[in-house]
């Protein structure tokens, strides 16, 4: 399949009792656009040259998943996106494992040296990441949950919605948790 061309629209199940609307070309087109966008956002430098392959692999897997479920009437846009997420995570993990093997083998299979991560920067980032994870364990649980979601990119209102807290409570827990986290990092001599 050409990644530029979304697959044909899914045929509705025989009894027409789909829980969701049948998928259309637009659904696939939007999915492709979203996968391309997400890959572009998350692709580390060393994976950049493989971004197109990654998108292609994800879309192929989604189509395969759709075929497996053909006739079940369950492949809605929700499942389409869920399948794309699963495929994307798997593909990125697979690429990362290959990259690690390549680095350990000291080969340049994955691209020129310039695209490899800077070891010092990588090491410093990992050290800080490890310290953050350690410090998170010292926070009281509600603050830890709030901070983890905030670090993951959720806004404070989203944190409240996900954890079913009132906005004010979410706000308090996020910024007090972040203050605790910074204090802990500073005590360890790690300053972000």
């Amino acid at each position: 399949m050409d990644a530029q061309d979304p697959p044909p629209a899914r045929r509705p199940a025989g009894n027409g009792a789909l829980p969701h609307s049948p998928l259309t070309d637009d659904d696939y087109g939007r999915l492709r656009v979203d996968v391309v966008r997400v890959v572009a956002q998350v692709c580390p430098g060393w994976l950049g040259s493989r971004a197109d392959d990654l998108v292609q692999a994800v879309l192929i897997r989604v189509v395969e998943a759709q075929r497996k479920r053909e006739g079940t009437g369950e492949f809605s846009t929700f499942y389409l996106r869920k399948a794309a997420h699963s495929a994307l995570v798997d593909e990125i993990r697979r690429c990362r494992r290959r990259q690690e093997v390549a680095l350990q083998s000291d080969t340049e299979e994955d691209g020129p040296v310039a695209t490899q991560p800077d070891p010092e920067r990588l090491s410093a980032g990992r050290q800080l990441g490890r310290a953050i994870r350690d410090c998170l364990q010292t926070l009281v649980r509600p603050r830890r949950l709030a901070v983890v979601l905030n670090l993951q990119g959720h806004s404070v209102p989203e944190v409240g919605r996900l954890l079913r807290w009132k906005p004010k409570r979410a706000e308090n827990l996020v910024y007090r948790g972040l203050a605790d986290l910074r204090d802990c990092l500073e005590r360890r001599g790690v300053v972000p």
């Binding site: 364990q137 983890v148 806004s155």
Partner: protein
């Protein structure tokens, strides 16, 4: 979209891949997707977030799910990943409905962006925000801040003289709030004392106001310093009373 610099750095570091833990303990990708969608029961979701706190692989899977659900940058209804959206949420409709929320968040983000970029803070507590607010921690990196705690962290103060001390610049005034924290997280913080416009650099929480505070309970002080040059700073301190 601009985040406070420190938060951006923390997020970047938290996203660094680590050696995978025992992946048998990892939740399924399906659960992670459902978690991001808010489709898991609260207890299950909290356990999952606890796992994400320690597992970089699952944290990455979570971020990917979140990105899949976010409109592209530049979309007028973009769901803000930043805490700038906080202002919008506090002012806006909280009914469920992602599309509706996105519209509010988008509008609020536009209004809040300039404000939050300048402030670089989470302080939306006050009805009228100060001209400039800088959020500070309370550790060594605070040395450059105008306001610093003199009361050590996790201090245990006598109930009859629960005196919080800090240092600051001449002419500054201070707002102090003390809340009782529930360390188990079962209850929201309970306001214990709040004073505005303090000129002194210390405050003793009156013993009667500590009447409902059990010995050893965790208290959280939030001090907002209003500096003579119009800027403000916020610092925090946890303490306990005997």
């Amino acid at each position: 979209m601009t985040e406070p610099h420190g938060l951006e750095r923390l997020r970047e570091a938290f996203a660094q891949p680590e050696e995978p833990l025992d992946q048998d303990r990892c939740p399924s990708l399906s659960d992670i997707w459902d978690g991001v969608q808010g489709r898991l029961p609260p207890d299950r979701l909290r356990d999952l977030v606890e796992h994400v706190a320690t597992c970089s692989a699952c944290a990455e899977a979570w971020r990917l799910a979140l990105l899949m659900e976010r409109p592209a940058a530049g979309d007028e209804t973009v769901g803000s990943t930043s805490d700038e959206a906080l202002a919008g949420d506090l002012a806006g409709d909280r009914r469920p409905g992602r599309a509706r929320w996105r519209i509010y968040a988008g509008l609020a983000t536009a209004a809040a962006a300039a404000f939050a970029v300048v402030l670089g803070t989470y302080d939306f507590r006050r009805a009228e925000p100060p001209a400039v607010v800088a959020q500070r921690g309370s550790g060594a990196a605070d040395q450059a801040a105008a306001t610093r705690w003199l009361t050590p962290g996790e201090a245990v103060l006598p109930r009859g003289d629960a005196r919080l001390r800090w240092s600051g610049v001449p002419g500054a005034t201070y707002d102090l709030a003390v809340d009782l924290e529930d360390e188990s997280g079962a209850a929201k913080p309970v306001p214990i004392a709040a004073r505005r416009g303090l000129a002194a650099t210390e405050y003793a929480v009156p013993a009667p106001e500590l009447g409902r505070v059990a010995a050893g309970a965790l208290l959280h002080a939030t001090l907002t310093a209003h500096l003579p040059d119009g800027r403000s700073e916020i610092i925090f301190r946890d303490f306990r009373v005997r």
